[in-house]
């Protein structure tokens, strides 16, 4: 009897939580293993080299089981993804930082009651809504504003993406600004600094690693976004000539072709390789956030 109650008191909950935790790890690992298995076929089964995939812009893989071999150069899509996501980060970060500073330092009451919930609603908007609004409203607007032949451009896609990653960066940055110890602020005031000097010289540097983490999480989100980007980037298979021309990204080419290609063909394998590349990119960013967190948390707080 006593044994049973001990099980209820302690082990039942622990076992349940452990199973869930291990399950999450297993799912993540098996998705990774599956992507490696499917994505490596481009190199192992179809015999393309890494250079064929990463450096060539010639993408014309064969879409039938018996057809002749084609080419799998993904350089256009990789460049498109990097450019679009980098630009989105450049656009979103200043706004996110401003919103985070406003929320945490300038007007915490207004920020916490109105701004934060409003920003959280952004996260819940489905990406098809962003995409369709981008296609029907933003894209014609950009076209008319800059007198372009069409509005589906890298710039349009970056604007849509910036809007989508804005809440992620803002909330992480606001959290890390709020976590700056009060003693820092008191010290700064005691030394005679104004509120803006406190924010600019003390708060921002102290919250730096946290803000960096937010930016990287935002960038990861941008890389993975398929639908909204796909609808407004135009998906031209060429390197963009400037920010106001269209191109393709890794996610857009996967999204528009995966369902139409047959399992196991060269085309299908090339798409899986791109999916694997996306996974590796987000893995890289996640490791980067851990390094940043260690840098920011070390020393003062001891091992956490």
């Amino acid at each position: 009897m006593k044994h049973v109650s001990m099980f209820r008191k302690e082990y039942a909950g622990r076992v349940l939580v452990s199973i869930c935790g291990v399950l999450m790890i297993l799912i993540t690992l098996s998705i990774g293993a599956f992507l490696v298995y499917k994505g490596s076929a481009t190199f192992t089964v179809f015999g393309h080299s890494l250079g064929d995939f990463f450096l060539s812009a010639d993408f014309n893989p064969s879409d039938s089981a018996s057809g002749p071999a084609g080419t799998v150069g993904a350089a256009i899509f990789i460049a498109g993804s990097l450019l679009t996501c980098g630009l989105a980060l450049l656009i979103a970060t200043p706004f996110s930082l401003a919103a985070a500073i406003f929320m945490s330092s300038i007007s915490p009451r207004l920020g916490q009651t109105y701004l934060r919930p409003a920003i959280e609603i952004f996260v819940g908007i489905p990406s098809i809504v962003y995409g369709w609004t981008g296609l029907t409203v933003l894209s014609p607007f950009i076209r008319d504003l800059f007198h372009l032949p069409y509005g589906n451009t890298v710039f349009t896609a970056s604007l849509v993406l910036a809007l989508m990653i804005f809440p992620t960066i803002t909330s992480v940055a606001a959290d890390s600004l709020a976590a700056v110890p009060v003693s820092y602020q008191q010290a700064a005031y005691a030394l005679g600094s104004t509120r803006w000097q406190l924010i600019w010289r003390v708060m921002l540097p102290a919250a730096g690693p946290g803000i960096g983490t937010g930016m990287i999480l935002g960038l990861t989100r941008a890389f993975g976004e398929a639908l909204a980007v796909s609808m407004v980037i135009g998906k031209t298979r060429a390197f963009p000539k400037n920010l106001f021309s269209s191109t393709s990204t890794l996610t857009s080419v996967i999204a528009s072709n995966m369902g139409n290609t047959f399992d196991g063909t060269e085309y299908n394998s090339a798409l899986w390789t791109m999916a694997l590349l996306l996974l590796l990119i987000s893995l890289f960013f996640i490791i980067l956030t851990h390094l940043l967190a260690r840098q920011g948390g070390g020393g003062k707080h001891g091992p956490s």
């Binding site: 993540t28 998906k235 995966m258």
Partner: protein, 334 residues
């Protein structure tokens, strides 16, 4: 700090999964289920009069694999049909499933989009009963796998070239050569074909799309669309329609089924022949193809009932009302 790190980890995993699902969901974007008026449990009670309880119990528990065994033993068909594939055929298949259920209330039909490749793969490996496809199985599958599939040409789809409404008065007709020159990037301004001084903007579909394959083969005589010209690629026909509608100088192509009661864009005649169902039936308009429903081997009684229903004379008028062509009315064949 500790809490923050845990949250960071959780967010990282969530984002990773989110980015993965974002890729995979596109394959199964649209899902619709049409269930019979009565549930399977209710069907069991009505069937008791004619069959043994054991048989119906087996029926209600049946998966696609045992469908043929169970279905042949009962006359009042009660079963489920699953299908996936072509998004061009999906609206028609969904409408047919709705109508079918009034005659066979105990059969539930579940249909998914996902693309022709998905449909062919899933019917070939037995995970669905019907694989919908815009393209012939022989074009995509190994010869031995394609040989296992039985083709049912349930409808004819006519593809029309469409232009932005600003061109509706000046570009009513193009010769096939003009069309080829436009899509291969030789003609870049509408004034070269009698239109206004306006740059041509091609709006196309991905090179794996069944719609594009059909248009390339029969409207462009196999000439591949230019990838250097000023063009935009769209994921589906709805997006293409929207892009052509909102960009002056745009030209694209889509199935007539998207143009029923739609004045947002204008169709273009090819060599003087309007893209209509009549012109498709009599063979004068060349850009059409079959919509296929593939089954692995001969279909089970339930699946056959569904396919026969779509091919029936009573349903033919509804096929035409949705902008598709009736296979039986074709005077030419491929």
């Amino acid at each position: 700090m500790k809490l923050k790190k845990v949250m960071g980890n959780a967010m990282a995993v969530t984002l990773m999964l989110a980015s993965l699902t974002a890729c995979s969901t596109s394959g199964t974007a649209a899902t619709s289920t049409t269930t019979g008026g009565t549930t399977t449990a209710a069907a069991t009670t009505t069937d008791v009069a004619t069959t043994t309880a054991a048989t119906t119990a087996e029926t209600s528990a049946s998966s696609a694999a045992v469908t043929s065994v169970a279905a042949t033993t009962i006359s009042n068909l009660s079963d489920s049909i699953t299908g996936s594939g072509s998004s061009a055929l999906l609206p028609l298949a969904q409408d047919a499933a709705e109508a079918f259920k009034t005659q066979y209330p105990d059969i539930s039909v579940t249909l998914n989009a996902g693309g022709s490749g998905t449909g062919l793969k899933q019917v070939s490996d037995g995970s669905v009963d019907i694989g919908n496809s815009d393209v012939a199985a022989e074009d995509k599958l190994d010869a031995d796998k394609a040989a296992e599939l039985v083709d049912h040409k349930v409808a004819v789809v006519t593809m029309a070239a469409i232009v932005n409404n600003e061109l509706s008065d000046s570009v009513k007709n193009l010769t096939k050569q003009q069309l080829i020159d436009i899509f291969t990037g030789k003609i870049t301004n509408w004034n070269e074909v009698g239109g206004p001084d306006q740059a041509v903007l091609l709006v196309t579909r991905p090179d794996t799309s069944g719609t594009r394959a059909l248009f390339t083969e029969y409207a462009l005589d196999g000439n591949q669309e230019s990838s250097d010209a000023s063009y935009l690629e769209t994921d589906n026909s709805g997006e293409l329609l929207e892009t052509v509608k909102s960009n002056p100088g745009a030209i694209g192509y889509l199935a007539l089924s998207y143009l029923v009661n739609n004045q947002d864009v204008s169709t273009v005649a090819i060599d003087g022949v309007e893209p209509t169902l009549e012109n498709t039936y009599n063979g004068s308009y060349p850009v059409w193809g079959y919509e296929h429903m593939y089954t692995k081997g001969e279909p089970s009684e339930t699946v056959k009932a569904f396919i026969d229903f779509i091919l029936s004379d009573t349903y033919a008028s509804r096929i035409e009302a949705q902008g598709y062509g009736v296979t039986a009315k074709m005077t030419v064949s491929r």
